[in-house]
Amino acid sequence: MTANDELRLSIDYQAMTEFISFFKTLTPTGYLFLILTIITLFSAIGVVTARNPIYSVLALIATFFCLSGHYILLNAQFLAAVNIIVYAGAIMVLFLFTIMFLNLRQDDEESKTNLTKMASVVVGGMLMVMLITIFRAKSAQVPTYSATAFNPKTGLVENLGNLLYNDYILPFELASVLFLVAMVGAVMLGKREAGDRHF
């Protein structure tokens, strides 16, 4: 064994001990966060790579679950529950519904030309760059956690309601008007005209 090899081994060993000591400093919440993040990333990758659209949707549902777990780790219980009810419980069911009716086969894969693939890579990459710049910006930095200044009721329903109905009442009401317009539009689109054929 040469001296060079020994040096490299020692560096490896050092990196290893650093890695292990990093793990030792983690709290149980930290472990939960790591595990949850790994699952989230894997299921999110599964959404894009799955060949069968049904598997894709199921992976997306798993991703929503993991995101709800992250919300709970951030002490936002209400948001976690609503995320599951609205996204996993309602919207994704409708997605599955539609895909099951479409009965997509493997050969429909051909519809994705190279152009669409390249376009999606460009769009996704731009989104990633944008997110990274936003999170690295000085103005968007979140103050670090301090046990004394932290209000344990931050993400709970009462506080959320107070914020929504006191400080942000106008945006909240505008958003609900937007939803109403979308609902009316959906009803109009789905309505059968007098001469239309029955399916």
Binding site: I54, L58, A81, I84, I85, A88, G89, V93, F97, M100
Partner: protein
């Protein structure tokens, strides 16, 4: 959390889990006995005394049957379907309070542990979320079977569940408005006195909630997802052995959980009339610890008798009413229940504004009057005696 509290909590959670499974098992027996009683038969009476071992014999049969997976089916999703159905059914009992609390002394320190899996301040939303996931078990299983009838059953189940979830949620909102909390324990504590049980303040909400819970459990008269006359067997046509058993079993667990939920929301949970006087008397005669525990035990018994009544009610309806047609089901959900429950929300809000809790009786009275008037004005059926 200290070790004694953790131990007692663990025991309570295990007991809730076990009791859920036990009650679901014996619900299958009770269902057959109730059906037999309503149809003037005897029902199962061969296995054990009064047929009490029948559920165990059924489970044994289910386990030893051939576990068949269709060759064109997508194998993992086919297995995942019943697992999801069972998982979502069992998850929801975690936040239901089955009793007040247990007091005990360990190393001269007083402890008090609530008889509830976990107390979270979004209990109602948690149950609602789990219920909305219940449809995945059916959908995944129905699609993975690679059978047209299974797929149709799954689609029916999904659209039925989504439609009735809306009315279910809207009828729940009135209770949340009156309590001002999403925690199930807070909702139960609000109903401490008999005439403030939500059944008396929210009669219409109760009727809507009960009907929607029938639809969510896929019970008759809303059992269209497995309607044999139209769909062979519905979403579980291709299933056999214990996978089929899990689907059937999860229905009974859902029934138990929704009965518990209804008793918590509308019938005061573990409260009964004169509960405070009884608790005071017990604590005075037996001491703060033993008296409180005995009072809790009475509360748990009361809670379970309410649950059993509702399970019986589910069966009673099943063997009394025929199945709806699919368009009738959708009309009932979308055109009757949703407008009614929105009206209920508005009227409850007006009542709360003027500090009058019983405002929704107005809708109930108007509806009864309208029903009576329309029956009185309806043309009399002309009965012609049959000639032989």
């Amino acid at each position: 959390m200290e070790l004694p509290v953790l131990t007692v909590k663990g025991l309570i959670i295990l007991a809730i889990f076990g009791i859920t499974l036990l009650i679901a098992t014996y619900s299958t027996y009770a269902e057959r006995k109730v059906a037999a009683f309503l149809q003037d038969r005897l029902g199962p009476n061969r296995a054990g005394p009064w047929g009490l071992l029948q559920p165990i014999a059924d489970a044994g049969k289910m386990f030893f049957k051939e576990d068949f997976i269709p060759s064109q089916a997508s194998k993992w999703l086919f297995i995942l379907g019943p697992c999801l159905a069972m998982l979502t059914a069992l998850m929801s009992s975690a936040v239901i309070p089955f009793g007040d609390s247990v007091r005990f002394i360990w190393d001269k320190v007083n402890y008090e542990v609530a008889i509830q899996g976990i107390e979270i301040n979004i209990g109602v939303l948690y149950i609602f979320g789990v219920v909305s996931l219940g449809v995945y078990g059916v959908m995944v299983g129905g699609w993975a079977s690679n059978n047209k009838f299974s797929l149709l059953g799954a689609i029916r189940a999904a659209s039925q569940n989504i439609s009735y979830e809306i009315a279910l949620g809207l009828s729940l909102i009135t209770i949340l408005m009156m309590t001002g909390s999403l925690s199930l324990r807070a909702i139960i504590d609000e109903q401490a006195t008999f005439f403030e049980w939500n059944i008396f303040t929210q009669p219409l909400g109760f009727v809507i909630f009960l009907t929607c819970s029938f639809a969510e459990c896929n019970r008759t008269p809303f059992d269209l997802p497995e309607c044999e006359t139209e769909l062979v067997g519905g979403y579980h046509t291709e299933y056999s052995s214990m996978k089929l058993g899990f689907y059937l079993f999860s229905e009974y667990i859902n029934m138990f959980v929704s009965s518990a939920f209804i008793s918590c929301l509308y019938f005061g949970g573990f409260h009964y009339p004169f509960i405070n006087e009884v608790n005071q008397a017990l604590e005075n005669s037996l001491g703060a610890v033993a008296g409180h525990n005995v009072a809790t035990l009475i509360g748990v018994v009361v809670m379970f008798s309410k649950i059993f009544f509702f399970i019986f009610f589910f069966m009673w309806v099943r063997w009394t009413l025929p199945r709806f047609r699919y368009d009738q089901l959708m009309n009932l959900g979308w055109k009757t229940f949703i407008p009614l429950s929105i009206l209920n929300v508005v009227l409850t809000g007006a009542g709360l504004l003027y500090n009058f809790k019983y405002a929704t009786w107005l809708i109930a009275i108007v509806m009864i009057v309208m029903a009576v008037v329309s029956t009185a004005r309806a043309p009399k059926p002309n009965i012609v005696p049959q000639r032989t």
